[in-house]
Amino acid sequence: MSETHPATIATFLLYIVGVFILAAISHKILAKKSFMGEYFLGSRGLGSWALAFTFAATSASGGSFTGFPALIYTHGWILALWIASYMVVPICTMGVMGKRLNNVARKTGAITIPDVLRDRFESTALGLFATSTIIFFTVCNLVAQFKAGAIAVETILNLPPSWKTVGDWISLPSAFDSISNQTVAYLVGLVIFAAVVVIYTAYGGFRAVVWTDVMQGVIMGLGVVILLPIILNRAGGLEEVNRKIQNHPPLIVTSVPQTNNDLAFLRKSRSRGEGIPDGVEYVIPEPGSKPSVALVQHGQKTYIQVRLGTNRDGEPVTTAEEIKKLVTRDPLVGPLLAGVEANEEGVQYAYNNDGTGVVVLPAGKKSQRWDFIVGDEFLFGPGRKADGTPFHPLGMAISFFFMWAISGMGQPGTMVRLIAFKESRTLKRAILTVTIYFGLIYLSLVMIFVAARTLLPYLAIPEDADKSMALVATRVVGDMGIGYAMLAAIFIAAPFAAIMSTVDSFLLMISSSFVRDIYQRTINPDVSERAVKYGSYATTTLVGVIVTLLATQRIDFLQYIIVFTGGGFAATFLCPVFLGIYWKGMTRQGALASMVGGFSIVVGMFAPTMLGGSRIDLFGLHPIFWGLFGSLMLGIVVSKLTGPPPEHLVVRYFYQLKADADGS
């Protein structure tokens, strides 16, 4: 596969040096301020630029930025609708609660979101439930993020897979089998990633984290804006791109579980119907079978069935080249296709650089089907997944508009930034900055990666999200000279930077949970400044080390928890905080019911995935919708039943003395 350009490594190293410099400056400032407020909240001194970019980075890396390009590449223009609510995300996520939340937090000097809830309702239970939720989701996420970070570093530095596994180098006791089985390249990647992120986060605190976000946000924004005209120019203009996509023969890209075995099937006819195949089905037959091909009917659909040859253990042994010959020479199937292209070494669409291909059949399955995707489907909704079901049906279109804009408000990682800004004017300028920033980058990204389809037409379905972005960068602009190589490097490093900016704020959040919410506020309020200081450094580092160790393990259930982190956070935090700051009638019991209820609904609706089933999309709507709805209803009803709330709280948060216009 592709070599890593020296410029890529140089850019990556420059980036890391930059991060360390920012951490060092932050650390110097830290020495002059009140420790805890500075370390976890930057002394409530966030200015407009810092607030804007730390906000953009934190909300953008909530799953959208790295996976987004691959989705555009795979499904086309419908992703413009998928991301459309970003037109109101800045004003919603910052404007609805920002000013009020900041004001409320200052009334008691709260520095974390659990702090705010605990003070607002004078309830330790509420604070501790909030803290536990944060710790639970954050630890699970950190482990996965560290894994992704390790792979990103491995890719950037192009560490050779031939380094084999740890077990080949040193022999460890059998208790450490899981470590022995990891490749050395992965462990090196993991150690580099962990060291960088833990050191600068622990050493520099909130200020370092924010500055890193600003640096990353500015670089990425510039990268996208520069890349857009280059790519469109290369592709012959956007209109030409759409025509090419529309007129391209219907296509599927599949792969067989052998090395370098991607296959692109191109159907002859653009229309559908009688006798025209709808897709391709792979079957792994009983052990010792010979490969064969046939047309089969499943319901109303016709599939080209490829039965793979198997060895005596039942493992498929047919290569892509053999399938290609078999299919194109078959008198029945061959004429239906405009071609089958097999990925050989060096062929353009071979995208997996570890050579494994997309694994064709999920473990335990004997057959798998893919449907042809007609060019038109890239230009209109609802898009189609590889299994033929609609990608973005109405229920999901509604849910995603909710998800980004409304549940985006409820993320503790973004809310904590709202209590950190300095004055009202800061928030106003930050809203405008992020509005313009998102307006520039998101639609540009859609255009860039739609155009990428014509420049790199046969990438295997990129489940592995980050690679299509890196590939577009290297294949399309990487060979155009040193300046372009630097530009490419930005996009290759993008997943790394995005992961880093998620991880650093998670690390701080979990550290603040332990030091502030659990230790200082619950166990020992009189803890000394010095103890807090070393406790915070130690906690941040320790969490980093534990997560690194966990990331050397295979922990399968993590993926099930990660997919509902954003939804779980929103359902837990949004309604209690929103109602708490805007509704006088909210009671402690109402807040607790809203919080526990929202959390339980989301977890409950996702629970079937842990047993191998699918998420419960009641009426086609995403669980996050129901979690928020339930949380809102519970908050209101339970508060009505248990009200009215204590008068001193209502006075403290909603009133001021008549004589004194500036409040108490």
Binding site: K33, S43, R44, G45, A50, W77, I78, A80, L81, A84, S85, V88, G95, V96, K99, R100, N103, K107, G109, W211, L238, Q246, D376, E377, F380, G381, P382, P390, P393, L394, G395, M396, A397, I398, F401, I406, K422, S424, K428, I431, L432, I436, G439, L443, M447, I581, Y582, R615, D617, L618, F619, G620, E647, V650, V651, F654, Y655, L657, K658, G663
Partner: protein, 126 residues
């Protein structure tokens, strides 16, 4: 105010910062609603080749409530483009996006109140 006992009620008034923030919050949620209705309904009606219900929906799907909408099934050859952007993306997403940027500016510059937020902020800015 009726929320407070007579004694305290005489000495206190509602915090104007709270009232401002609440008013602004309602207006933003209104903007969200307008953007939501415009974008999702326009794109669904004019940008979808067909209007299939979700494959994974539990207990019926919202798309069934709306109906099959066969007369709205899009004919691919009817595609028009503005600046290379498909028509439904242009009217359903790009145009409202620009209007939302304008609305955000109008809100921040004309409606948003720069209230005092209280003590505790640092002198230096990050």
């Amino acid at each position: 105010m009726s929320d407070l006992g007579n004694n305290t009620g005489d000495r206190y008034q509602e915090d104007p910062r709270f009232l401002n923030a609440r008013r602004e919050a309602w207006m933003i949620l209104g903007l969200w609603l307008v953007a939501f209705v415009w974008t999702v309904s326009y794109c669904y009606l004019f940008g979808y080749l067909s209007h299939p219900p979700s494959a994974n929906a539990t207990g019926g799907d919202i798309a069934r409530v709306v109906g099959e909408l066969e007369s709205f099934n899009r004919e691919p050859t009817s595609l028009r483009m503005y600046f290379g952007i498909p028509d439904w993306v242009f009217w359903g997403i790009a145009v409202p996006w620009v209007l939302c940027i304008a609305a955000s500016f109008a809100f921040c510059l004309l409606i948003y109140r720069e209230d005092e937020l209280g003590d505790g902020a640092d002198e230096d800015e990050i």
